[in-house]
């Protein structure tokens, strides 16, 4: 009798071991896929320094945060998250901010990061930063009870202070490299030393900046990239060509592609289009009336001009539909935006009737009024053309004047030789910082760029803005801004368009480049290349 054939049992143990091994290898393969690579990133315009300490112009607010970090980072609702500070507490009266600093952080030159650096940085920002003077105006001192605690003491509350601590806005610089030197001419502005995920390697003027991975970064195992090459490409078409051919992996906003190319780029394989707008920057474009021009002193004339401009058509034509309209100076992304304020409806017939009633009748050639239209070169020319055509339909001859940036700034803010200007004054991270500067009568200063352009003066608005700047109770502050928006809407010193588009073109292999609310102005520590 032969033995019954033994049913071969499945070798469960071996299978288990094999599966386990397979799992481990795939996991490590995934982890390996994340590390490595060189990012080619286009930035425009060329900055004059790499740390946004004494100036925030050009690409230094984009490049700086990769090397020099801030105390906090922010999510898409601008709620603070830890970066160099791990915990923070604000006193009830809003006069003391206590920051617990991260331990074990080293500067790129090997020295330890301590509270002395934080104290020095905040005091320096207060003196030299274009907005630091305002943001930290109420700071009287920064106490450093120990190496990992910093206490900021204020004379009056600054409710927006906690939002001002991003790497792009308030970089923390090493005290021992800056103390005792002239901050404006310090060579570390062009060769920064920071705590960030990338170390500055070289800046070949006119060509590129090379950043390398920081092996001692506090947030191990990040960063994932080996190198970042920042290329300065000033021509929009050349950037589009670079992005399309794959020699550039990333380009955002004014460092990206012209709006007319977006539809074409959406169809390209290997490229993604990101239309998110950073709430920290608060893109915003608008048109201001020069309230010193005799014709524009009449509110009915301003109302008529507002009625002649179709905002929806503007968004579709000038912004290719990618913008986000807002009827008020505070953009729709902000928690202080008052959605109940209505835009003046598009009504050219009513506009013409109003101009007739105001005494501006059509002459023989059909012109009622001649106005000079200026526009900030960072606003597209099409914007000014749209305004000219809209006003032409109701009989206003709006002559567009084109200037380069320096000439525009002088004509608009020093000589004030304009009637209407299309501007690009962003909300920045808080209305007290970005919006107050325009509507506060005390900020009308000849020769000061981006101040009170319309020469608007309303004592009630002044009161609301000044109260909101020091109000620590959040619901009360919100109500003050709501009242402000209603008051400004009634006076018509401006026509607010809203957030202009910010198109980011990114290669599909680039992942996680903008996880925070600072968008492209984050640290790139999370950025990795996915293997195809």
């Amino acid at each position: 009798m032969s033995r019954p054939p033994q049913r071969t049992a499945l070798p469960w143990k071996s299978i288990a071991v094999l599966l386990g091994l397979a799992g481990l290898t795939s996991l490590s393969a995934m982890a390996q896929a994340r590390h490595g690579g060189t990012l080619n990133w286009a930035v425009n315009p060329v900055p004059s320094s790499l740390v946004p300490l004494t100036t925030t112009a050009g690409g230094n607010t984009e490049i700086g945060p990769k090397v020099v970090e801030g105390l906090l980072t922010y999510d898409w609702n601008l709620a603070p998250k830890p970066q160099l500070a791990t915990a923070w507490a604000v006193s009830k009266d809003g006069l003391q901010y206590t920051f617990t600093l991260r331990k074990g952080v080293k500067w790129h030159d090997g020295k330890d990061f301590t509270s002395a650096d934080v104290a020095y940085s905040i005091q320096t920002l207060k003196q030299v930063h274009p907005r630091g003077r305002g943001s930290f105006a109420n700071v009287t001192e920064v106490k450093t009870p120990d190496a990992h605690t910093a206490v900021v003491v204020l004379s009056k509350p600054s409710p927006f202070l906690l939002t001002a601590l991003s790497a792009a806005e308030s970089p923390i610089v090493p005290k021992n490299l800056y103390d005792g030197t002239d901050v404006n001419t310090n060579k570390y502005n062009s060769a920064p030393v920071g705590t960030g995920p990338f170390v500055f390697k070289e800046w070949v003027q006119g060509s590129h900046v090379l950043l390398e991975r920081n092996p001692n970064y506090w947030d191990k195992p990040k960063p994932y990239l080996d190198k970042i090459v920042v290329r300065f490409i000033t021509d929009g078409v050349a950037r589009a060509a670079g992005l399309e051919s794959g020699s550039i992996d990333l380009g955002s906003g004014s460092s990206g592609i012209p709006l007319s190319d977006v539809e074409r780029f959406k169809k390209l394989p290997g490229i993604e289009i990101d239309t998110r707008i950073s709430p920290y920057v608060g893109n915003h474009q608008q048109v201001y009336f020069n309230l010193d021009t005799p014709a524009l002193k009449n509110i009915e004339v301003r109302r008529a001009i507002s009625q002649a401009i179709d905002a929806n058509a503007y968004n579709n034509t000038v912004w290719y539909g990618f913008g986000k309209l807002s009827a008020t100076p505070i953009g729709a992304h902000s928690r202080y935006h008052d959605a109940s304020v209505q835009r003046i409806a598009f009504n050219p017939k009513a506009a013409e009737a109003a101009l007739d009633a105001a005494g501006f009748k059509k002459d023989a050639s059909g012109t009622r009024l001649k106005l000079r239209v200026l526009y900030n070169p960072f606003v597209e020319r099409r914007s000014a053309d749209f305004i000219r055509q809209s006003l032409g339909r109701i009989g206003i001859d709006a002559a567009v004047e084109t200037y380069d940036f320096a000439t525009y700034v002088k004509k608009a803010y020093t000589d004030r030789e304009w009637d209407i200007t299309a501007e690009s004054l962003t909300n920045i991270f808080d209305p007290s910082v970005g919006v107050q500067r325009i509507f506060w009568s005390k900020n009308f200063k000849i020769g000061l760029p981006f101040s009170n352009a319309p020469h608007y003066s309303n004592p009630e608005v002044d009161r609301l803005l000044e109260a909101a700047a020091v109000e620590v109770d959040e619901p009360k502050r919100r109500q003050l801004f709501f009242d402000f928006q209603k008051a400004v809407a009634a006076d018509i010193p401006s026509i607010e368009f809203g957030a202009n588009p910010n198109i980011t073109v990114v290669a599909k292999k680039v992942r996680d480049y903008a996880p925070t609310g600072e968008h492209i102005r984050g640290t790139f520590a999370d950025l990795y290349f996915a293997t195809p």
Binding site: A241, A406, V409
Partner: protein, 328 residues
């Protein structure tokens, strides 16, 4: 006249002409730049997006803009006399360093473009003159007209679209592959690949000029008596064309080439912007927009010196090409 004394004479005459020319260029441009509205402090303050009256006053002092006009001019000339071009307040670097870092790339681009333009232009012109009136001449004349009328930046952009984006043969911009760490022969090849398109874009216009000029000059020379003698002597057509006709035709061509050296430098601004070439042209444009006068004056000074040197070299070349031309 021996070669050495010819060279010496040329150098002496050039030096005498160079100093007042350069001085004139600097002073004239200094005053021209004052007429431009807005100054460096306006630009920095505006770029920051916010400023206060105090920061602007600080900036003006830092830039030396609060001094009277003549004081600033005299200070600049004084620096020049000590061979010091000043410091750029915007970049916080000596102007000489800024310019020195970019001079090499611009010169490389210009010399390559000029060389290409001369080589191709003379070749086309010779072909046109040899087959004058026939289809080769007609076709090349139309080509020359097209190259003459097409703007350099359009030519450059179309070249990028075709060769870089569609075909992927050549890079889209820059002068080297950054971060690749190439050395030796690989580096030379990489630089050459990046040089092709910008040089072509710059050379296009001048190819048209040189080809038409060569054609006209050769046609004129070919009617001379000595050419008839050479034909009668039984020299081959190739020898006549190249050794006799072309060599004489090159005199007007090289004169024009020397004169156009300055135009080439101006055209560099456009080509460098399109191809993100890190050169002086872009630096000059950025300096104008940023009202950074020290850098701009430095570049203008250097350009005038370069043009003078180029013309001096052309003088020497003429003396070599045609010994009948005396250096006075």
């Amino acid at each position: 006249m021996t070669t050495l004394s010819r060279v010496g004479h040329t150098l002496q005459r050039t030096a005498w002409q160079a100093v007042p020319t350069v001085l004139g260029v600097v002073v004239l441009n200094f005053f021209l730049l004052q007429l431009v509205p807005g100054d460096a402090a306006d630009v920095i303050a505006a770029e920051s997006g916010s400023a206060t009256a105090e920061t602007m006053a600080q900036l003006r002092t830092h830039f030396g803009l609060d001094l009277p006009l003549l004081d600033r001019l005299l200070a600049y000339l004084n620096n020049l006399a000590h061979f010091h071009l000043g410091t750029s307040p915007r970049h916080n670097q000596p102007v000489l360093d800024l310019i020195g870092g970019r001079l090499g790339s611009t010169l490389l681009l210009m010399v390559t473009a000029l060389g290409m333009a001369l080589a191709v232009g003379v070749l086309l012109g010779t072909i046109m003159a040899t087959w004058v009136g026939q289809w080769q001449d007609r076709v090349l004349s139309v080509l020359a007209l097209l190259l003459y009328s097409t703007p350099g930046f359009w030519l450059g952009l179309m070249a990028i679209v075709l060769f870089s984006v569609k075909l992927g043969w050549l890079p889209t911009g820059g002068n080297l592959t950054i971060g690749a760490g190439l050395t030796g022969w690989a580096l030379v090849k990489d630089a050459a690949r990046h040089l092709v398109l910008p040089a072509l874009a710059m050379a296009g216009f001048f190819v048209a000029i040189f080809s038409r000029l060569t054609r006209a000059a050769m046609l004129e020379v070919s009617h001379q008596d000595f050419v008839r003698t050479a034909t009668a002597k039984g020299l081959s057509p190739a020898a006549i064309t190249l050794r006799h006709v072309l060599r004489n035709a090159l005199i007007p061509v090289t004169t024009v080439a020397g004169m156009h050296f300055g135009t080439l430098l101006g055209g560099a601004i456009v080509v460098e912007s399109v191809f993100s070439w890190p050169g002086l042209g872009r630096l000059a444009l950025e300096s104008v927009l940023a009202r950074d006068y020290s850098v701009l004056l430095g570049i203008l000074l250097l350009s005038s010196l370069l043009v003078i040197v180029a013309n001096m070299l052309v003088d020497l070349l003429h003396a070599w090409l045609d010994p009948r031309i005396q250096v006075r």
